[in-house]
């Protein structure tokens, strides 16, 4: 597959090699997050509880995988690889997605809770990047922001509906929240050498501040929906440090099976 997107333009910055490496790590983590969660959403195609949700999750999957491609192309522009090789040609331990996103779909409550927690985290992250003085990065982020808005609309509608519906639905949403919470905290954890970008002024809002914004925002919303944001839970399962669960290997094995039959083929 040839590139669809214009290559990134890195301006001359102090400590350019280090900035490029840190930017590459950040974009790769975001791309891996989108690819992996996009694949998980796609597993609901044909199986979702109603036709509207089936269409919605399939569309969101298509969006996330499209975002992953765009981000992989930006990474490829920095390191000379290709989007396909990055997506399909790496071993599980080379992936930098947050562990939360590779977990199996489980039931509808976990799917919705995970989608909602991730959509809000992604929104905070993209809004930080959209404010970057690095024009190419800001433009990519604001493009993705405009599409992600529909994802939040979907997951938040379901979250609220199930949080308010019956005792059972609220209990199951709360249980899913407690399962997902510690790994959700890690979604906005630092990527390798991200402080190089904050020091260079290329990223104005760093990971710690992004995480605090996200936690305050989701806690406020959860409380309004009658759910309890889990308290005093430390972040777990970064995945950014290659600490993946066996679920990722199984996911990649299935996702890459066609590509691996002939990695040099043109599709």
């Amino acid at each position: 597959m040839t590139g669809l997107w214009a290559a990134p333009h890195m301006p001359a910055v102090p400590d350019e090699t280090a900035s490029r490496a840190a930017l590459r790590a950040l974009l790769l983590a975001m791309a891996d997050d989108d690819l992996v969660v996009g694949h998980r959403h796609s597993e609901w195609t044909g199986l979702a509880p109603d036709i509207e949700s089936d269409v919605a999750l399939s569309s969101i999957a298509q969006d996330e995988i499209g975002h992953a491609r765009l981000l992989y192309e930006q990474v490829a522009g920095l390191d000379g690889t290709s989007a396909d090789r990055l997506a399909y040609g790496r071993a599980p331990h080379e992936f930098c997605n947050a562990v939360l996103l590779e977990r199996e779909n489980g039931d509808w409550s976990f799917t919705i809770v995970r989608a909602w927690l991730y959509d809000h985290a992604d929104a905070v992250r993209l809004s930080a990047l959209a404010a970057s003085p690095l024009g190419s990065l800001a433009a990519v982020a604001s493009t993705l922001q405009r599409e992600e808005k529909y994802h939040v609309l979907f997951s938040e509608t379901w979250l609220e509906r199930l949080a308010r519906a019956t005792d059972e639905s609220r209990r199951r949403m709360q249980a899913a929240l407690e399962t997902a919470w510690s790994e959700a905290l890690a979604v906005l954890g630092p990527t390798p050498d991200v402080d190089v970008l904050t020091r260079a002024g290329l990223l104005i809002t760093g990971p710690a501040e992004q995480q605090a914004r996200w936690a305050a925002d989701v806690a406020r919303r959860l409380t309004a929906f009658g759910l309890c944001p889990p308290a005093g839970v430390p972040a777990a399962g970064g995945g950014r440090a290659a600490a993946h669960s066996p679920a990722l290997a199984a996911l990649l094995d299935e996702m890459t099976s066609v590509w691996r039959t002939d990695p040099e083929a043109t599709w």
């Binding site: 669809l4 269409v55 959209a130 604001s142 405009r146 599409e147």
Partner: protein
């Protein structure tokens, strides 16, 4: 042989979107076209970045422009700025989409959704997601038809792209 930009734009108007009956120029997907000694560079703006039609569109653009005498190399790339907005769609394009049965917003802001079948504004959102990323599904309470409405990417308050419509 010198190729003038008008010839290139005219050729681009022949390229149809693979998912909807509209040319890519009426859709407002072409941002910039430049030619230097037979080397054409086309910069395009996506509606949705995950749209599977993007690949087909770039292939069609390459093929169409390569037919022009004097064009040797065609580069096509999608760029992120300015953001594509619904105001880039031409009147001709809107009319063709309406004739195809699609409801088309004017501004991308809050406005009544009118039924393309009976013209009623007594409509309700059924699903923000539809058969393609750029379509959403409404229902007309008067003529009781499901309606597809063209869905532009959402405007994000405070985003860099928000003030760059048109």
């Amino acid at each position: 042989m010198v190729v003038d930009p008008g010839t290139l734009w005219k050729a681009l108007a022949d390229v149809e979107d693979p998912e909807l009956p509209i040319s890519i120029t009426d859709m407002g997907l072409v941002h910039r076209v430049a030619i230097t000694e037979g080397h054409v560079r086309v910069e395009m703006l996506p509606t949705f970045t995950g749209c599977p039609a993007l690949e087909v569109i770039t292939a069609r653009v390459r093929r169409r422009l390569a037919e022009i005498p004097g064009v040797d190399v065609v580069d096509v790339a999608f760029v992120f700025e300015p953001a594509w907005t619904i105001t880039r769609m031409s009147e001709t394009g809107r009319a063709r989409l309406r004739a195809h049965g699609l409801s088309v917003p004017r501004t991308g802001g809050i406005e009544p959704v009118t039924c393309p079948v009976c013209g009623s504004a007594n409509t309700t959102l059924d699903n923000p997601f539809g058969p393609t990323l750029c379509r959403t599904v409404y229902y007309c309470r008067d003529c009781r038809n499901p309606i597809e409405r063209f869905k532009p990417p959402a405007a994000v308050l405070g985003a860099r792209s928000a003030d760059r419509t048109g």
